[in-house]
């Protein structure tokens, strides 16, 4: 394509040739997202998306502004100003009691060392705490206990009214990078290479007081822990910068399994240089983990891996799923795996049972007929992948191209579509065009009925 654009006479620039990323043609039958809405408002990288309820979500990023959007219409609901620096963490805070006034709150932490509680219904700032010694890097709400935790250089426990209930001693200057709730009032905090388990203990003297206690330090990781995910009540998983994936028992905090050489397992004797190159730590860091009951999905470097908990092994992988690092990965309820990456694209995958006769996974269409000629290479690669992952393979069923810069995160709104946010300051709402069209028709006829019954009648008459 590009070569064609630049002109036949010149040598191909090879921009597209450099990587051996699997591509899908322009024909994407299974890709439901045929309509997009660009939501403009942010002035800097948008890093966070958080769902508020069935139709609302918030976006926040380096410009320190939080926007509240309607996921159905793309309407901007509120623009929340209050932070002076970039947002570092965001968490929804729902009241257990729905009848309560401030049932939808969000917490935001920023590099200005403040945490603000916002009311999503009115768009107003409810409260602000700015007594932190360091930037709060993560926020976790323990819905069950109706408290929230802020993790910076220390770990603080707050109640709904923003009273500081208790805090740990100074842990590290780098601060807590991730927090996850564990059973039995425990939380796991990733602090550098260490994983620290804290337990909240109800204080005896006060009714609402909590004490926080360090229970255990786990030092199994060789490098900084980048991702932390709770799989189920019994398990959680961590991933580190050098590509270790460890599955932990959530109750006794022992190592259930670990997979530390994603790349090693797949190294072939005839590996090309580019794969060797990819063994630099940056290329193998576990950027993000996601899980469902069966599998842990890991975004490792440019690739994505499916680790089965039962079999304790990688059952499917796509070593170069993207042109550059995968930043976020999620398994959707509809069994589609979505990944987004620094290369600005979002890709939709499906886990397929391996066929007896490996077929070419992707119909490449006409796209390859003039210009790329990568079809063969892909096919070869796909075969290899299948050999290495005997049971399943990941099939690319679609990609979403809209952002011009790294896609930081995405949020799945089931029927309403998919929201992606990116370093190009945009939030894009991807929708199912068919469904939207139907909905618009519905709205139209409702409006018609309101406006003028006779018109609708005429239409029905016409149909007869």
């Amino acid at each position: 394509m590009l070569r064609w654009l630049i002109g036949g006479g010149r040598e191909p620039q090879g921009l597209a040739e450099k990587s051996s990323v699997q591509t899908i043609g322009e024909e994407q039958v299974q890709n439901p997202y045929t309509e997009l809405l660009v939501l403009k408002g942010h002035q800097d990288i948008v890093r966070f998306l958080v769902q508020i309820d069935d139709y609302r979500f918030a976006s926040a990023g380096d410009d320190g502004i939080i926007f509240l959007w309607n996921a159905q219409t793309g309407e901007k609901l509120f623009e929340l100003h209050g932070h002076t620096h970039k947002i570092t963490a965001i968490a929804p805070f729902f009241s257990s009691d729905a009848s309560e006034e401030n049932s939808h709150l969000i917490l935001t932490a920023s590099a200005d060392r403040a945490v603000i509680v916002w009311d999503c219904t009115t768009g107003r700032q409810v409260q602000k705490v700015s007594c932190f010694h360091s930037t709060v890097k993560c926020l976790t709400v323990l819905q069950r206990l109706d408290v929230w935790l802020s993790g910076g250089s220390d770990l603080c426990v707050w109640n709904r009214k923003l009273d500081l209930l208790c805090k740990t001693s100074h842990l590290t200057d780098a601060g807590i990078s991730a927090l996850v709730e564990l059973p039995k009032n425990c939380v796991a905090a990733a602090v550098g290479k260490e994983l620290i388990i804290f337990r909240l203990i109800a204080s005896s003297d006060k009714s609402e007081g909590w004490n926080i206690l360090e229970v255990k330090r786990l030092v199994d990781h060789q490098d900084n822990i980048l991702s932390l995910v709770s799989v189920n009540d019994l398990t959680f998983a961590t991933g580190s910068h050098v590509g270790e994936l460890i599955v932990w028992d959530a109750l006794d905090w022992t190592k259930q399994a670990s997979e530390c050489n994603f790349w090693d397992s797949s190294v072939q004797p005839d590996t090309r240089t580019e794969i060797k190159l990819s063994q630099s730590p940056n290329e193998t860091s576990v950027q993000h983990l996601a899980s469902d009951e069966e599998n842990v999905y890991a975004a490792v470097g440019k690739g994505i891996y499916v680790y089965n908990l039962q079999m304790k092994r990688v059952i499917a992988c796509q070593r170069t799923a993207h042109d550059s690092s995968v930043l976020h990965i999620e398994m959707l309820p509809n069994r589609q795996l979505i990944s987004c990456s620094e290369d600005g694209s979002v890709r939709i995958w499906e886990i397929r049972e391996k066929q007896q006769l490996p077929t070419e996974p992707v119909p490449t269409g006409f796209f390859n007929m003039w210009g790329f000629g990568r079809a063969n290479k892909q096919a070869n690669q796909a075969k290899k992948v299948q050999e290495n992952t005997p049971m399943h393979f990941l099939e690319l069923v679609g990609d979403l191209i809209g952002h011009s810069s790294a896609v930081q995160m995405f949020l799945y709104f089931s029927e309403l579509g998919l929201v992606t946010c990116s370093a190009d300051h945009l939030v894009i709402l991807w929708k199912d065009g068919e469904r939207e069209s139907r909905l618009r028709s519905l709205t139209l006829f409702q409006k018609l009925a309101q406006n003028d019954l006779s018109k609708a009648e005429f239409c029905m008459f016409l149909w007869k």
């Binding site: 394509m1 590009l2 064609w4 654009l5 630049i6 002109g7 036949g8 620039q13 921009l15 597209a16 043609g25 322009e26 024909e27 994407q28 039958v29 890709n31 045929t34 309509e35 997009l36 809405l37 660009v38 403009k40 219409t73 793309g74 309407e75 600005g344 269409g365 006409f366 796209f367 003039w370 679609g398 191209i401 809209g402 952002h403 011009s404 190009d424 945009l426 894009i428 065009g433 939207e436 069209s437 139907r438 618009r440 028709s441 519905l442 709205t443 139209l444 006829f445 409006k447 018609l448 003028d452 006779s454 018109k455 609708a456 005429f458 239409c459 029905m460 016409l462 149909w463």
Partner: protein, 935 residues
């Protein structure tokens, strides 16, 4: 847009500069002999070959008190335009038919001179010897030095085409009234300032005289007055009187706007294009900004300082002084505004009447398609929506309310007309014109009617001929004022008695005598609203002697519907008719919501079976009636329309081509009685004014059409490119040369549907890399290709987003876009098309697109296509039904479906859009493979 391009055989453009027409000449033996009169410079369609001027123009003349009627200026200001046409002679003609005869000066029983704020009079007159027909607008301007302080002027729109004047009367009248109002406003301002200067002079003179008298008094120690002193005293007294008089005049002129505001039909002049006028003075802004308060008031207050001078006691002789020019009579700003308006009129009405009418009709019809018209229409046109909405509102009113409204409206004004105007109009005998007796294709009508008409025609034809051949050949075709005057005078006279042939005959007699004086009133003006019912009821007997009685009753039956405002008349009418009228009106209100008016019907009706359009386009009023009547005639309304006489139904059908064409020409006579109840429900609907055809816009269309034509001829892959545009896929025109890219973009822009009532989503030239937002906003983009690294970025971005765009490479002449296998675009852009002119092609495109719009409209608004009929129905069956409808009912194939679906989506978005908030622009796309097309 609706108009078939073929209707207008000769539009007004000259496209001489285009190389496409420079085809090699035909060999001698194949060439057809030229039209014998072609050398005359006239086209064979020109009706009056004898006219001495080449094109329409506007003439301003004045009845100078010194030299009599004289032409002042013409618009366009080009000696070539009037050519050998005798302007002096024609000025004499047009100035001699001013019915004003308004009295200005000292009315008896009044101490001071009174300013008479006379109405303008609007006359249509024809001069068959000169081959000129004119709409003449008389007005008077104030001049302190003139006799009676007034100077009569007139503005005339002169055309060789009588039909144009007659059919465009109301539009001309409205436009000229604007010009006149502007001119008069400026004149009042100038007059007031003149008065103020004069007052200062007088005041100064008085002081001087007073001083002199005092000095004389002091010097004079004798006990008696010298003659010199007496003289001085007299002089002083006359100055004092003069001051009082002038003060009174000033008061009068200043109070004018207030007085006028009380009258409901007065529209203070408000310049419409203040913003456009770069040179507009700030005072104009002031005036325009506060329409509630008459703008003139501001203007009077700020006058430059003036040094008074001594006035001689005796004014100079009438013939010694130089009369002020028109420019001096009017405030300079307003004068230029007036000239602008006149130029605008000239531009608007330029060209064949056919063209004007087609334009008006299509505009009026388009306005009714308020749901789909945003897709392919000009944004400029869409801006004019406001008044239309008001009309709509009125249509929605119940019959009663509408009636009441009408009667209120028409009963208030019209009292101002000075008595003088009545006199001359009494002789007014409206007759039918343009009967086309010898046309063998007279449509079949009810027999009796035909017979009656024949009678009429014979009679009238003779009349017409007589008048044309008369030596003194000026004919007054109609005056609005006289007609409205008649409303008062005639109606009172004839109402109680049923019209009898006797009355009629005496009228004919009087008319004859008038004709010997060479002024013949051929017909009254076509403004229906001004003509009283009873008047219309009475005149036919003047013309038809025997067989009219039957028809008379028929006519009377229908009369009440036309003018529900005439309360006197309504008393005479039985309630029964009123009921019938209300019934049918209700029926129409219910069954014919505006947006559903079947446009194709009109088109079909106007064509004969062989597809040739036989009748000229009719003014929109007529067309609308046709539409409404077709509803009346349709089955669901049968019961209600029972009261209509069959022939009247017939004649309202456009099928009866000749009939309609006739009725439109003499609207004041029979045609008014054709106004169906539908028209009366919205009787305050002002006729659509001739749309100000923006010249630049028109030129743009022409150019775009021409470029598009070239594009489809040059590029074999024009179809997929156009398909991309129609299906909402952004087309990027990539090229190094800005001019070439822009040209292509212009060409293709005519195929781009609008996404809302904004400007077309077309970006002519972009140099920076494209972004997804751009595809959301623009559907056609011209993109620069450069060799620099930045250029590579641009291309990289383009290849990244290649799924959203089709790319037309202007340099290597390739196109990369999805395949198109439909049939629709083939009709739209046939590279073997015989169409040669850009504008014709533009119209062709517009008509095809309109068709497409109607399909999209049907598709969008058919309930069952999108929603299940009942709860249990599955989504799948709805989808099946939808596809069936698209394929079978709309006859769409393959990719054409996507076009209609895209348009439908736009319609939906537009329709469900809340008025307050703008639509969030969507980007819809498909995952379809693209192909590379090469030449």
């Amino acid at each position: 847009m609706i108009s078939a391009p073929d209707v207008v055989a000769f539009t007004r453009e000259e496209e001489l500069g285009d190389e496409l027409y420079r085809e090699p000449p035909l060999p001698e033996e194949y060439s057809v002999p030229l039209f014998p009169f072609a050398g005359h410079g006239a086209n064979p369609w020109a009706k009056v070959a004898s006219s001495k001027f080449s094109r329409d123009f506007i003439l301003i003349s004045e009845f100078s008190e010194q030299v009599g009627p004289q032409p002042l200026l013409t618009i366009p200001d080009d000696a070539k335009v009037p050519g050998s046409f005798d302007l002096n002679y024609f000025s004499l003609r047009i100035m001699s038919v001013d019915y004003q005869a308004s009295f200005v000066g000292h009315p008896p029983g009044c101490a001071y001179p009174k300013l008479n704020f006379v109405e303008d009079s609007k006359v249509v007159l024809g001069d068959s010897k000169e081959g000129a027909f004119a709409y003449v607008h008389h007005l008077t301007l104030y001049d302190l030095e003139a006799r009676g302080f007034v100077r009569p002027f007139c503005m005339a729109y002169i055309s060789a085409d009588e039909h144009k004047i007659m059919q465009q009367f109301q539009e001309l009248s409205a436009e000229f009234s604007k010009a006149s109002e502007c001119l008069k406003t400026g004149n009042r301002k100038a007059f007031a300032s003149e008065l103020e200067k004069k007052l200062k002079d007088l005041d100064y003179t008085r002081t001087v005289l007073h001083n002199e008298t005092e000095i004389q008094k002091k010097a004079n120690d004798k006990g008696y007055y010298t003659t010199q002193a007496i003289e001085k005293a007299n002089e002083l007294a006359s100055v004092e009187k003069s001051i009082i008089e002038h003060q009174d005049l000033l008061k009068q002129i200043r109070s004018y706007p207030y007085r006028k505001l009380k009258e409901s039909d007065f529209h203070p002049y408000e310049p419409e294009c203040t913003l456009d006028q770069a040179g507009a003075g700030s005072e104009q802004d002031l005036a325009a900004s506060d329409p509630a308060e008459p703008g003139e008031m501001h203007l009077y207050s700020r006058l430059p300082s003036y040094t008074p001078k001594l006035i001689k006691a005796k004014p100079a002789k009438c013939f010694d002084k130089k009369l002020k020019t028109l420019e001096e009579l009017c405030d300079i700003y307003f004068f230029t505004q007036t000239l602008d308006q006149l130029h605008h009129i000239e531009r608007t009405f330029r060209g064949d009447v056919c063209y004007l009418l087609t334009n008006q009709i299509s505009r009026a019809l388009l306005k009714q398609q308020n749901i789909t018209n945003f897709l392919f229409e000009d944004v400029s046109f869409l801006d004019e929506k406001a008044p239309e909405n008001r009309d709509r509102g009125c249509q929605g009113l119940s019959q009663d309310a509408a009636d009441r409204k009408c009667s209120e409206e028409s009963s208030t004004p019209k009292v101002v007309i000075s008595l003088g105007s009545y006199k001359s109009s009494v002789e007014c005998v409206p007759i039918k014109m343009e009967q086309d007796m010898d046309d063998p294709q007279e449509p079949a009508m009810t027999e009796s009617i035909t017979f009656e008409h024949q009678e009429n025609l014979d009679y009238l034809d003779a009349d017409l001929k007589g008048s044309i051949s008369s030596g003194e050949s000026i004919e007054v075709l109609g005056t609005e004022k006289s007609a409205s005057g008649l409303m008062k005078s005639e109606s009172q006279a004839s109402l109680p008695i049923s019209p009898s042939p006797q009355v009629g005959r005496s009228k004919v007699g009087s008319r004859r005598t008038v004709s010997e004086d060479s002024i013949e009133v051929l017909s009254t003006c076509p403004s229906e609203s001004l003509i009283p019912e009873d008047f219309k009821a009475s005149y036919p007997s003047a013309i038809n002697e025997e067989p009219y009685v039957d028809d008379e009753e028929g006519g009377l039956r229908f009369n009440p519907r036309l003018n529900p405002d005439n309360t006197d008349e309504q008393e005479d009418v039985s309630n029964q008719e009123n009921l019938a009228q209300i019934d049918s009106a209700c029926c129409i209100g219910k069954e014919s919501p505006n947006f559903l008016e079947p446009l194709p019907e009109l088109g079909q009706k106007q064509c004969d079976e062989d597809g040739v359009v036989r009748i000229p386009p009719q003014p929109y009023r007529q067309a609308e009636q046709g539409l409404h009547s077709s509803f009346v005639g349709s089955p669901p309304c049968d019961s209600a329309s029972g009261g209509l006489l069959p022939h009247e139904l017939d004649s309202r059908y456009p099928t009866a081509g000749r009939e309609v064409s006739r009725t439109s020409l003499d609207e004041c006579s029979d045609s008014t009685s054709y106004i169906s109840s539908a028209a009366s429900t919205c009787s305050d609907r002002t006729p659509s004014p001739a749309h100000p055809v923006c010249l630049a816009n028109e030129r743009h269309k022409k150019k775009a059409g021409q470029n598009a034509l070239r594009f489809i001829r040059q590029y074999p892959f024009a179809h997929p490119a156009i398909y991309s545009l129609l299906s909402g896929r952004t087309l990027v025109v990539l090229g190094e040369d800005e001019a070439i890219v822009k040209k292509l973009v212009t060409a293709l822009s005519i195929f781009v549907p609008n996404c809302g009532a904004y400007a077309k989503p077309v970006k002519h030239w972009v140099t920076s890399p494209l972004h997804v937002v751009d595809f959301q906003k623009w559907k056609l983009i011209g993109l620069q290709r450069t060799v620099s690294p930045a250029g590579v970025n641009v291309l990289h971005a383009l290849s990244r987003y290649s799924r959203y765009v089709s790319i037309l490479d202007a340099d290597s002449k390739t196109l990369r876009c999805p395949m198109y296998k439909g049939t629709l675009v083939a009709r739209l852009a046939d590279h073997r098309t015989q169409i040669k002119r850009g504008s014709t092609y533009y119209m062709h495109v517009q008509s095809v697109l309109t068709q497409l719009c109607s399909k999209a409209f049907l598709y969008t608004f058919c309930h069952h296509l999108h929603l299940p009929i009942n709860e249990r129905e599955s989504e799948e069956s709805v989808v099946n039904r939808r596809m069936n409808f698209l394929k079978l009912h709309l006859g769409l194939a393959n990719e054409d479906i996507k076009i209609v679906q895209y348009l439908a989506e736009l319609l939906k978005l537009q329709y469900i859009q809340e008025p307050g908030q703008g639509v969030n622009p969507l980007l819809r796309f498909d995952y379809v493979p693209s192909f590379l097309y090469k030449i």
